[in-house]
């Protein structure tokens, strides 16, 4: 009913290609996040689904219905797509009251006054707006405006919700609360939702699935766990996680080591076997490891062995209270680690660090794609 499908969709503006050949399927009732840095094409993708932009090439389906296919000359305008959208700025009608803002989509559909009234009140109740119905948008706080925007989307009972960074204008505290509320609301209504954000925390906490985009290209689609634990390429690996994953350039030796120059790490047996099979021995590759998978040697002696440790100099320690971000260097290689508060390392100190070899990722140096 509410599934959305994009098949080979392109969007070109005069001389820039904003979206390149995206194929994406969103299942009915799914919460899909489009995640990427600004200018990656995620908003353009959303706008093509909404009908505010026409794709240059490719097909878009909403439900069973083909809503855009430039080759066949099909373009269904937004009002006939059975979608609702929440904008980053909320885009409330400044001259209308909260009531009229929420009622506007129904009024345009010539629905009877009584029914509009019933539905507006129901939605207002659901969102805690009942007391505010007579106010104008400028008399509302950011969070209240956000709810009105949601209300205007919900009242339509559309098959798909489209949301363009709806929480980015809220202050940090409110954002965290709205994240949870929005997720709950979506579950309760069970409406397919496509949600654009550049905030990886929002993506990880809210999405059933995340579609990571960069430079107009879809990088990876998967559950938050998949995206975090099995990134498809160096972009996804580097974009998700804070501080970002360390990338170390090394050479794979015949003995199963990755040689970085100042130090070597020995791969696990099956890891080496896989690389051997793919013919990477003697070649350059990139080893990726997240900061939390690098341990303070003094706290992780039981894990340490000569194959997975090295000495490094502590450059900077940032104490975040619950954890310490430690910037380390071993000769010309620098990397970041996340240590627990018990770690007592000091700036300038030479320490032993341990790599959790089970958690490493290996990327092809040229294609930037993950081998595992």
């Amino acid at each position: 009913m509410g599934e959305v499908k994009l098949l080979g969709v392109w969007k070109k503006f005069e001389d820039v290609t904003a979206v390149k050949d995206i194929t994406l399927e969103v299942k009915d009732g799914e919460f899909m996040i489009l995640l990427g840095p600004s200018g990656c094409g995620k908003t353009t993708t959303l706008r093509m689904i909404s009908g505010l932009e026409e794709p240059t090439k490719g097909q878009i389906y909403i439900g069973e219905k083909l809503v855009a296919d430039p080759e066949k000359g099909i373009f269904v305008p937004p009002k006939d797509r059975d979608i609702a959208m929440v904008f980053q700025s909320y885009a409330l009608y400044p001259h209308m009251t909260v009531y009229d803002n929420i009622a506007f989509p129904l009024k345009l559909r010539k629905i009877s006054k009584q029914e509009i009234d019933i539905r507006v009140k129901e939605v207002a109740e659901m969102l805690g707006l009942t007391e505010l119905l007579k106010r104008k948008p400028r008399e509302l706080s950011g969070g209240q405006r956000q709810r009105v925007a949601l209300g205007r989307a919900i009242i339509r009972r559309p098959h798909v919700f489209l949301m363009d960074e709806p929480l980015s204008n809220l202050d940090a505290k409110l954002r965290v609360r709205m994240r949870a509320e929005l997720k709950k609301l979506q579950r309760q209504l069970g409406v397919t939702t496509i949600y654009v954000t550049h905030d990886q925390v929002e993506a990880m906490t809210m999405g059933d699935k995340i579609a990571v985009m960069n430079a107009g290209v879809l990088q990876q689609v998967g559950t938050p766990e998949e995206i975090y634990n099995r990134p498809a390429n160096m972009f996804v690996a580097g974009f998700i996680g804070s501080p970002p994953m360390n990338f170390l350039n090394g050479t794979l030796t015949e003995g199963g080591f990755v040689d970085f120059g100042p130090f070597k790490l020995r791969l696990l047996k099956d890891q080496f076997a896989l690389l051997q099979e793919k013919g990477y021995v003697g070649k350059n590759l990139v080893l990726g490891i997240r900061p939390e998978d690098i341990y303070d040697g003094s706290l992780a002696q039981e894990r340490a062995s000569e194959n997975n440790m090295t000495r490094a100099t502590v450059e900077i320690v940032e104490n975040l209270g619950g954890e310490r971000i430690v910037y380390l260097s071993a000769e010309d290689i620098s990397f970041t680690a996340k240590f627990p508060p018990e770690s007592k390392v000091k700036e300038g100190q030479k320490i032993e660090i341990v790599f959790d070899m089970k958690k490493i990722h290996i990327f092809d140096k040229n294609t930037k794609k993950a081998i595992f």
Binding site: S50, G51, L52, P77, P78, K79, I83, A84, M85, F87, Q88, S89, A91, L92, Y93, P94, H95, F104, P105, L108, R109, R152, R156
Partner: protein, 281 residues
């Protein structure tokens, strides 16, 4: 306000200069007022002689009911012309300005450059052919004719002004309305026009004062004394043997009262319109 001693001298000097300038700029108006409320014999040797000082409304009555060119009738004519000459171009220009602000269409940029060119155009450039055009369509000496000319003439600057205004409005509100199911025209009059209300008020106020203050177009297109607008009557009010400053100044006050009132009541819109139409791109 407490003024520290070391600043006192500067404070006095700058205040004096400012107020001397203010008085210089005000003196002509004071003169006009003095001349209008006093009998001719008291002001003929200079209105700044204050004795005798007799206050009379005779000049106002005389100007209002002038036997040849009654200002009262002129004020009425001015109003009959200025109101439709404000509303018509405002609506028409708002539509066109929206097309320039939100749509792309062929030759748009040339068309807009042409509109800007028309804003700078002297009215002299149109009146000869317009005179014959109106005459052929029997619109000469008719209010309708002058209203059409004023409306057409106001379009260029209002299009320019409103396009700038619309361009500053956030597009996502209009997009939201589109997703909510509104048609292009509905978006325009239900969403865009109400949002652009301050801009529309500014444009209306300036257009109204300019039409009211117009002299040249009325001079060309209204030749029947009964049809004369207020500004047109002013120069005709001088006496037969001498310039009767009492009647002239009283009439001047009545003619400028309307724009002054509009300015006072809508100062904010007047000023933002003034600044907006000449600076913002």
């Amino acid at each position: 306000m407490n003024i520290p001693k070391y600043k006192l001298k500067e404070f006095i000097i700058s205040n004096s200069i400012a107020w001397i300038l203010g008085v210089i700029w005000l003196i002509p108006f004071v003169g006009v007022l003095m001349a209008s409320i006093r009998p001719y014999r008291e002001i003929v040797g200079g209105w700044w002689h204050f004795s005798p000082f007799t206050i009379t409304l005779k000049n106002f009555v005389g100007a209002f009911n002038h036997p040849m060119f009654p200002i009262g009738e002129g004020l009425r004519n001015s109003l009959i012309i200025a109101i439709p000459s404000t509303i018509t171009p405002l609506l028409v220009a708002a539509l066109a300005a929206y097309a320039f602000a939100r749509y792309s269409f062929p030759v748009k940029h040339y068309l807009f450059a042409f509109i800007v060119f028309l804003m700078a155009l002297p009215q002299q450039m149109t009146i000869v052919p317009l005179y014959f055009l109106l005459r052929n369509f029997h619109l000469l000496n008719k209010f309708q004719g002058l209203i059409l000319v004023h409306s057409a003439w106001g379009l260029a600057w209002i299009i320019f002004f409103m396009r700038n205004y619309f361009s500053m409005l956030p597009t996502d509100v209009e997009e939201a309305a589109r997703i909510d199911g509104a048609s292009d025209f509905k978006i325009f009059y239900k969403i865009v026009l109400p949002m652009a209300l301050p801009g529309l008020i500014s444009a209306a106020i300036l257009q109204f004062t300019w039409v009211w203050s117009d002299f040249f177009l009325a001079l060309v297109f209204l030749q029947n004394p009964e049809k004369y607008v207020a500004t047109q009557r002013l120069p005709l009010l001088r006496g037969q043997y001498f310039v009767d400053w009492g009647i002239l100044t009283a009439a001047s006050i009545m003619v400028m009262l309307v724009p002054l009132l509009v300015y006072t009541l809508f100062q904010k819109y007047y000023i933002s319109g003034m600044i907006g139409w000449s600076t913002e791109k």
